[in-house]
Symmetry: C3
Subunit: 352 residues, 3 copies
């Protein structure tokens, strides 16, 4: 995928030349995909130097850094609907598209894909909590009325963000400390092998991470600046672009890793990547965006649209059904993709 | 049940004599029940001659032929609400009533009813997909407004019907080809034994199938023609009649087979019949009806009423809970029947 | 906790002196907590004399007597919203707060908490039925309109109450008769040991039960009489007070027992207490309140607010996810508490 790095100067040049936003969108999106991959890899290299404890923490915290940067740029530009749509899209994209493709890819090679039920069902139950947390402010919005509804919603969103963040910290203690035997062992070995990991010196990994982060930030700003125009041009709503296009761009690196893992029958790892990434978005990225929005002086609420909520709820329910029995097969992957397809059709049809 | 075949000439005679529609409804409904049984049996006989592959396909495709014919007649008569109600009713009736009665019947004889968890939970997860697919157009209906809502809904319904039909084809490949070991073996033996199956010559089975189909079509037309009048006469809404009366008539054959299987502690088969029949209605009958409606020049959408959607969602959720642990007992059957009862009371109370 | 019995005369004195309702509320709430404990203990002592069959029945039926008495007093005072809120609060409080605290308490001592999956998942599936039953009248309320909606709702509520009551009786036959091996054995032993149970003579246990019941009734009347004033004074809605304060008071005894059981790694018992208590409220207390309301001449309907329904549905879903795999750990307890917290924040923010 590294040839796509050539799109970075192209995107910058188009941006400077104030070219057609559609081309800026395509070039910057294309450039972010390999950069997100490099960010992930360099984070893993650094994590390796820091040992399983702090290293695991680093991995868990910066795993979705590219998505976070895109969302922060959108937040700064005041595109609150796009920010929320990219949160939704990241959650459902990881569960339905990434996991669906992984299961189909693995399932066509192996009749049955087995995984540790305890770890999987804890992750998917956490995801159910996230779905609940995201549903509550929207319900509140529908049920309450009057002049001071908006401030009440923002307060509730902030409080829920705090609960989510605390839950995230506790889930790290669970997965990195008290119950690490359920997660760590096979995962790190397998990912090393899969990523063809060499032992990269700490200073080199740090430089790569910093450089990649800077470029992701630059491209994200270009991407966000061209999003509204691109949406209009393609006849799509902002929400559709956020839920489907932006989320897929931010998650492209996870996509390829998870699919590769599944094809080696390492479903535990594929599931961990896909569901873990969704969880991180819901429990870490979403609260952090709420907190940051206060710094920008325009608080972000967590009042998602009804369709977004339905999509998250439905995804959380389906992945729980699939994870609960500790085994999978290609048909279950087809199912996840079918749900993704149906949601995509509906989001596309919905007027802005 | 064969004495009920005597109702066929009665229904035709009443129809010709333009008698009270209530009597036509009762007579034609009564006549369809044994005919649907004969259609099922002759399909199985033909399937046996064609070998497990094509035979299985035949069985899977024509298993709900009676329901399909009734629905096509209603579609032709322009009774779109009744058609949709009969889809809903067939889905929830098979899950809640047929499976509920089967589990109670089996559970009073055996303390625990065990079944293959993998096959069962795949079927029930597919059912969850169906529920999601049926929910989306109705949500779209509530959330979008304006002049071109209706065509957008029809397009979305058609697209979803295509996704469902593709999923159905893939699920056939799964159950008849790549993972047939989960299904075929015990099922076919048991059903043979249960139905007291003799090896019937192919020509005879084909003749029986054709004759039964023709009579089902004739009686369905009489049934559909009298449905509105009967509903009014009995103080029921069209939707109630579709969801409860028509669906029970079309599924009567499955009822008795599934209950018989459960009483022999062959829960795998009972579950397969009940859940499989619901799945077929959702993934095959519903899309086919949408496609056929275009031939009739009045496209059918999949915008179900809120209550219908709630009923399907609730049924899919409950059957997943019951199937996930691979064992059952009479109390779980009572539960399914209680849910069916509560839904019935609510549908009955709801004004037209 | 017995020193809190001293609050009984305090509450009565404040009530006679027509003191500030806030103090009456606090004193009577504080007095009910130990009384509810004594009612529970004396019921168990009596149950022991009557043998496992009738004794189990007695335990199952009078286990939530304190909650029932409080609700009857609120019913008599015409506070229908508070009655319904206390039903909701009891259901979600037992599942989320009691079970959540139990799992956290047990999970910090033991890495894994195991329990009988069959019994647990049957209870949680029954709970799902209850959630469905409570959702239906509210949906009916939203979907139907016109002059005779209210009587139709009351009829539907009464019919559903009958279905719930029948289901409850059948579930007693299941747990006390046909499948008692799943429940009885370890539970009774453990509870004996845990409660430091001596063999108390029948007459003494009966006197204690009667005296405690009389005092609970007196304090409940004081509690209910001061509830509206207290709510206003603390800036809370009636519904919040019902769902959170009243329910916690009524369930305090179960709280401590369930947590104690979990800390001894007797999760089966802890789960049985928490989920069983929720079930009893949904399947027994709620129907009984509907029936009694007819005696008071002002029928109670089961039309809960949208938030209450969402809370019950969400709680039933989460506890099913947790119970289905037959094992638990502290993180799952955190999850239950997080959901409780989020619901609490939302209920608090919602205007009256």
């Amino acid at each position: 995928m590294n040839w796509m790095l050539l799109l970075i100067p192209v995107a910058v040049a188009l941006g400077v030349a104030k070219a057609d936003p559609l081309y800026i969108f395509i070039a910057s999106a294309g450039g972010i995909i390999p950069l997100a991959g490099w960010m992930g890899r360099s984070t893993e290299w650094i994590a390796e130097h820091l040992g399983p404890g702090i290293g695991g923490l680093l991995n868990a915290t910066f795993g979705n850094a590219a998505e976070l940067i895109i969302a922060i740029m959108a937040l700064r530009a005041g595109l609150h609907d796009v920010v929320k749509a990219s949160i939704t899209g990241s959650i459902i994209g990881n569960i339905l598209l990434v996991l669906g493709l992984s299961i189909v890819a693995g399932g066509t090679k192996y009749k049955e894909l087995r995984f540790n039920r305890t770890a999987a069902s804890l992750s998917t139950t956490l995801l159910a909590l996230s779905a609940i947390a995201l549903i509550v402010p929207a319900m509140f919005h529908r049920l309450s009325e009057g002049a001071n509804r908006a401030p009440a919603e923002r307060t509730l969103s902030l409080e829920i963000a705090v609960v989510l963040a605390i839950t995230y910290v506790l889930s790290l203690i669970f997965s990195l400390h008290t119950h690490k035997h359920l997660y760590v062992g096979p995962a790190s070995d397998a990912s090393e092998e899969a990523l063809g990991m060499k032992h990269v010196p700490l200073w080199r990994a740090t430089v790569i991470l910093l450089v990649a982060t800077v470029f992701v930030a630059i491209l994200s700003e270009l991407l966000v600046g061209s999003v509204e125009h691109t949406a209009k041009r393609l006849g799509m709503s902002d929400v559709f672009v956020g839920v489907f296009l932006l989320a897929i761009i931010g998650n492209a690196a996870e996509h390829s890793t998870a699919v590769m893992m599944a094809m080696k029958n390492k479903m535990d790892l594929a599931l961990n990547i896909a569901v873990g990434s969704s969880l991180q978005v819901a429990l870490l990225v979403a609260p952090v965006l709420v907190f940051i929005s206060y710094a920008f002086g325009r608080p972000l609420d967590l009042v998602f649209t009804t369709f977004e909520i339905a999509a998250v709820a439905v995804s959380a329910a389906v992945v729980n059904l699939i994870a609960l029995d500790g085994e999978s097969n290609w048909m279950e992957g087809v199912l996840l993709l079918a749900v993704y397809g149906i949601l995509g059709l509906a989001f596309y049809a919905l007027p802005a």
